[in-house]
């Protein structure tokens, strides 16, 4: 991505470039790209005249900002109390094995990304994961293996 990216230009055009706009700006960038690409953070730095390193320092403070792209399927493993006691660690372990990535990573083909969240508010369905907007309920490692089988996907 070069400096002149139309999505980025559209976001930057919404702001005057005042220092105080930094966080809303980063939020809009993340909405547009799904994460904060490095070049976009650099462009935000230029626009607000805040050093790049300071933009990064601020962005890394907030859990809401991501620095790697999310996959087309963004998998959030619930690690709330209810899910935890009903086996969330094993669900996560199985997912990591099935997808070949660690928590916080994205598969090289951009299909899946994996992260853990504190609670998705579906304790009655525990243990559960949420893929994009859809909740998969009462999971077991076996069910996870079926739902997230990359070989099966390839065969489709």
């Amino acid at each position: 991505m070069l400096r002149s990216d139309s999505r980025l230009d559209a976001v930057l055009a919404l702001f005057d470039g005042r220092r105080g706009e930094l966080i809303p700006l980063l939020q809009r960038v993340q909405e547009a790209f799904g994460y904060l690409p490095e070049e976009a953070m650099a462009a935000v730095a230029r626009h607000t005249r805040v050093p790049e390193s300071a933009v990064y320092g601020i962005a890394t403070f907030y859990a809401q900002f991501r620095f790697t792209p999310v996959g087309r399927k963004h998998v959030m493993v619930c690690r709330g109390t209810a899910c935890h006691v009903r086996g969330a660690p094993r669900i996560l372990q199985t997912l990591e094995k099935q997808l070949g990535i660690k928590e916080g990573e994205t598969t090289p083909d951009g299909e899946y990304s994996l992260e853990t969240v504190a609670c998705i508010g579906a304790c009655g369905l525990s243990p559960c994961v949420m893929t994009n907007r859809q909740v998969q309920a009462k999971l077991t490692p076996r069910k996870v293996a079926e739902l997230f089988s990359r070989e099966a996907e390839a065969a489709e």
């Binding site: 070069l2 650099a42 050093p51």
Partner: protein, 896 residues
């Protein structure tokens, strides 16, 4: 300015401290130790480490570094409560600090050790608190230093240094909260960040977290001057067993206040590089053979004796000392009987010397480096200051931090523009139009200083009429800068006083370079910004001693002190002083010498510390000229591209191996001191030249002792009349310094200008386009620039491994739009062709270059940029137009 002293009590002692200082400073001045990690005298106090807690009566525990002194305060540094809190804080720092003290660079120079020793720590409590394991994270990507995160105490000094001192902003805290760490943008290795490797953070790290890769404590130190740019930073070379083992900036120097750039701090390996010339070489049957000094000197003396007069030319060196330049020009004039002596100032600031001599009477910086931070406005035009004069760059960024408004005018987006309030990206070569446009606005809006103009200037009306041609629509057409931006810049510059103008090669290296300089001079005069502190016209000189080489008369038209060779009174004086007949015809300029060689008019050349094969525009004509010489002697520290073509090569000593003086860009004459014995049989240049002169039977070359040569310089050079080695301690003197009791002149033209009538001269100007502009055959404009990591033709810097690692090859900077039109990808090898030649380089796509403009340095011998450049000369100063020529790019085929 008198600051009031306040009286307060620290640990029952009554101490005095200036108002505005803080308790930590007050205590430390009184010899009371308060533990601290995050405080540094160069930085604003932040109170991050929480160790400097003290008790103030009636207030309780406060941070000493963040508490201003007040009269009557009662302070206790040993109150039980603060001691308890401090101990816990310190213990928590220690348990997160991993590393073996004995193998640490910081050993015995560590604020954490110091604090632990004074506060006392309990090993049992430490063992209980200790974090399980070190992370093992060490960033060793930079060739000169490492960042060990396990030793980091998160004091933030490196971050604040990078921001407040260097203005680079490479570092910041990231991942705040428990995993907090010092990080670059994107957590990349330091070498991939915007870090400029100046090492200022390494110097200030209170522990051994940021540490130089090579370090030995020196046995002794020698204070001298950095050999790179014209800033003239004072350095202490640390020595051990005949080697340089450490380098540090001199904090007491008013020039650099301890600051150094990457070259000045780490660029010294060239001195003991195996490629150094260690013995004279004589070419026999096309091969160099080692020779003794007697053989070589006798041969040179015999051969030169056959070429006396204007068939001889000497190239002196802006790398050499004043004393050496003096001896070289004296040799050319007295022994060889010619004024054919010049040096590389011809290629950098000849238009400045020619232009400002006409308007102000003196072609040097009017003000000093230390004044910049107090300017209200700074116009930096045609100077990539952070790359070419990094320590002056620090000052400019400091000025911005103190409220100065910075205007950056540069065809490319340079790093300094990040700090600018007004940015002007004008087309290369359109400086006159831009500056005249600004002046038109200033005159039209009556922002000029009429009083200054009436009292101190002449020829204003003629100049004013010449502004008629510079209405803003035309200026916009010529420069590509929106009229609004031109007006903004004009108003900003004219209304914020004092305003200083800084400029460099972007102004001078044009076929109308002198006009550009005159335009700058007009602008400063128009607003009364000359002769006052923090204002002025400030040409940043390139080489360490290019100012001095000019001052010493290593120029074809003037003797030392800019005294004209064709002025009968002057040459009569020099005939008497030097006891010999002198030639009153001005000699040839460096750029004219090569034509004269090609034409057979110059038959013998003595080149000292110059590498014209790489540094001259249109190098093909340089090679053609050198090839026709009957005798060519070259004197250098390495066998340069030029030296290889010589008949005799004489090995010279480096700056660290001799005594003398350099005159920096602000006219400050400073002492250079010998730290090492010359390698092999290398000799100081003054000795070599004097030996040749003596062997040619000349008088006046009996001593090559720099102190005695300086006495002779002072006797014949009015502006150096009061300079002697004893008076140069500790920080040198600014010329003009005419008499022994004169304090030197930091600011020029305060009362009168150095012209015949004492008035400054306005110059009417017209816009002239560059000599060669892009056309359908050569559609791109090539301009030249510099890398922070290299110096000139890189004879020295490519012999410093770390600098080579930081920048190992030439890159053609090209706008992505221009590149994509030809399907050129980033990193692809391309051929760059001009009407004069071709080089093969790697393409680097960057929006720092505007569309239509490409850029190269000339640092790399395997991609000699000056094969391409155009030797169109400025008529009055004879500088070649190395900033503009037309080229086309072809996709590379792998091999050239």
């Amino acid at each position: 300015m008198n600051v009031e002293n306040l009286s307060l009590q620290i640990d029952s002692r009554v101490v005095e401290a200036p108002a505005g200082s803080n308790l930590l400073q007050a205590a430390s001045a009184a010899g009371v130790y308060i533990p601290h990690l995050c405080h540094h005298p160069d930085l604003k106090p932040v109170g991050a480490c929480r160790l400097c807690l003290v008790d103030v009566e009636g207030r309780g525990a406060v941070l000493a570094c963040r508490t201003p002194v007040e009269g009557g305060m009662v302070v206790r540094t040993d109150h039980p409560e603060v001691e308890f809190a401090r101990r816990v804080t310190l213990e928590l720092l220690i348990v997160n600090h991993h590393g073996d003290c004995l193998s640490c660079v910081g050993n015995q120079d560590c604020q954490l050790q110091e604090a632990a020793a004074r506060v006392g720590v309990d090993p049992e409590r430490l063992a209980r608190l200790r974090r399980s394991a070190p992370s093992g994270e060490i960033d060793a990507s930079n060739p000169f230093f490492t960042l060990d995160h396990d030793k980091c105490v998160l004091c933030g000094i490196c971050i604040r240094t990078c921001n407040e001192v260097a203005g680079v902003d490479a570092l910041e805290f990231a991942f705040r909260a428990h995993p907090m760490r010092v990080s670059t943008f994107g957590r990349k290795p330091i070498v991939e960040s915007r870090c400029e490797s100046c090492g200022e953070c390494v110097v200030r790290c209170p522990v051994g977290s940021l540490a130089p890769k090579r370090f030995e404590r020196p046995a002794r130190e020698v204070r001298t001057i950095c050999p790179y740019c014209g800033t003239g930073c004072a350095v202490h070379l640390g020595l051990r067993g005949g080697r340089i083992v450490s380098v540090r900036g001199d904090r007491n120097s008013p020039v650099n206040r301890g600051r150094l750039c990457v070259k000045g701090r780490y660029g010294y390996d060239f001195i003991h590089h195996p490629d150094r010339l260690t013995t004279p070489l004589i070419k026999r049957n096309g091969q160099f053979e080692e020779a003794t000094w007697d053989e070589a000197l006798d041969l040179v003396a015999r051969r030169l004796a056959a070429h006396r007069g204007d068939r001889f030319a000497a190239m002196s060196s802006a790398r050499c000392t004043n004393e050496e330049n003096y001896v070289i020009q004296k040799f050319a004039r007295t022994v060889m009987g010619t004024n054919n002596v010049d040096h590389c100032a011809r290629l950098c600031h000849a238009p400045t010397v020619a232009g400002l001599a006409q308007t102000l009477g003196s072609g040097a910086m009017t003000n000093t480096i230390g004044e910049f931070p107090d300017a209200a406005c700074i116009l930096a035009i045609g100077t990539n200051t952070t790359a070419a004069h990094p320590v002056i760059g620090f000052r400019l960024k400091e000025a911005v931090g103190r409220g100065a408004v910075l205007i950056v005018a540069n065809p490319k987006e340079i790093d300094l523009a990040r700090h600018a309030a007004v940015r002007l990206q004008h087309r290369p070569g359109s400086d006159v139009a831009l500056l005249m446009g600004m002046m038109r606005v200033i005159v039209d809006e009556e922002l000029l200083d009429s009083e200054f103009i009436a009292e101190r200037c002449v020829d204003f009306e003629a100049f004013r009429r010449s502004l008629d041609g510079f209405d803003l629509p035309r200026v916009e057409r010529l420069t590509g800068v929106p009229a609004q931006a031109v007006s903004d810049a004009a108003r900003t510059y004219a209304t914020r006083k004092p305003a200083a103008i800084l400029f460099a090669m972007g102004i001078t290296q044009h076929s109308h370079g002198t006009d550009n300089v005159l335009a700058i001079s007009n602008l400063a005069l128009l607003t009364g910004n000359v002769g006052r502190p923090s204002s002025g016209i400030n040409p940043l000189r390139g080489q360490n001693n290019v100012q001095g080489a000019c001052d010493m008369g290593a120029l074809p038209n003037v003797y030392p002190g800019y005294q004209k060779v064709n002025d009968p009174a002057v040459y009569t004086k020099f005939q008497a002083a030097w006891g010999t007949e002198l030639n009153d015809r001005p000699g040839l300029a460096l750029t004219e010498m090569f034509h004269a060689m090609s034409a057979g008019q110059i038959r013998a050349l003595y080149a000292v510390g110059e590498n014209p094969v790489l540094s001259e525009a249109d190098s093909t004509h340089v090679l053609a000229g050198l090839a026709r010489l009957e005798f060519f002697v070259c004197q250098d520290i390495f066998l340069t591209e030029t030296a290889r073509l010589a008949d005799v090569v004489l090995p010279a000593a480096t700056f660290a191996e001799k005594d003398g003086t350099f005159t920096n860009t602000e006219r400050r004459v400073q002492r250079v001191r010998q730290a090492l014995e010359p390698v092999g049989q290398a000799k100081p240049d003054a000795w070599i030249v004097s030996q040749i002169a003596q062997r040619m039977g000349a008088a006046g070359f009996e001593s090559s002792d720099p102190r005695r040569i300086m006495a002779e310089i002072a006797a014949v050079t009015p502006s150096y009349g009061g300079i002697s080695y004893d008076r140069l301690e500790p920080d040198g003197l600014h010329w003009p310094c005419p008499t022994l009791d004169h304090p030197g002149t930091p600011i020029l033209h305060t009362q009168r200008f150095n012209t015949a009538d004492g008035k400054a001269r306005f110059m009417p100007l017209q816009y002239k386009p560059p000599a060669e502009l892009p056309d359908s055959e050569y559609p791109l404009l090539l301009t030249t620039d510099r890398s922070l990591y290299h110096w000139h033709t890189s004879t020295m810097t490519l012999r410093v491994d770390g600098l080579k690692q930081l920048n190992d090859r030439e890159l053609l900077k090209i706008h992505p739009g221009d590149a994509s039109r030809q399907g050129i990808r980033d990193g692809e090898t391309v051929n760059v062709l001009s009407r004069r030649g071709k080089v093969q380089v790697e393409a680097r796509l960057t929006e720092a270059c505007p569309p239509g403009v490409v850029s190269l340095t000339f640092h790399f011998p395997d991609a000699p940029t000056n094969v391409l450049t155009h030797a169109a000369l400025d008529p009055s100063s004879k500088i070649p137009e190395t900033k503009v020529c037309a080229v086309r790019i072809e996709k590379g085929s792998g091999k050239a």
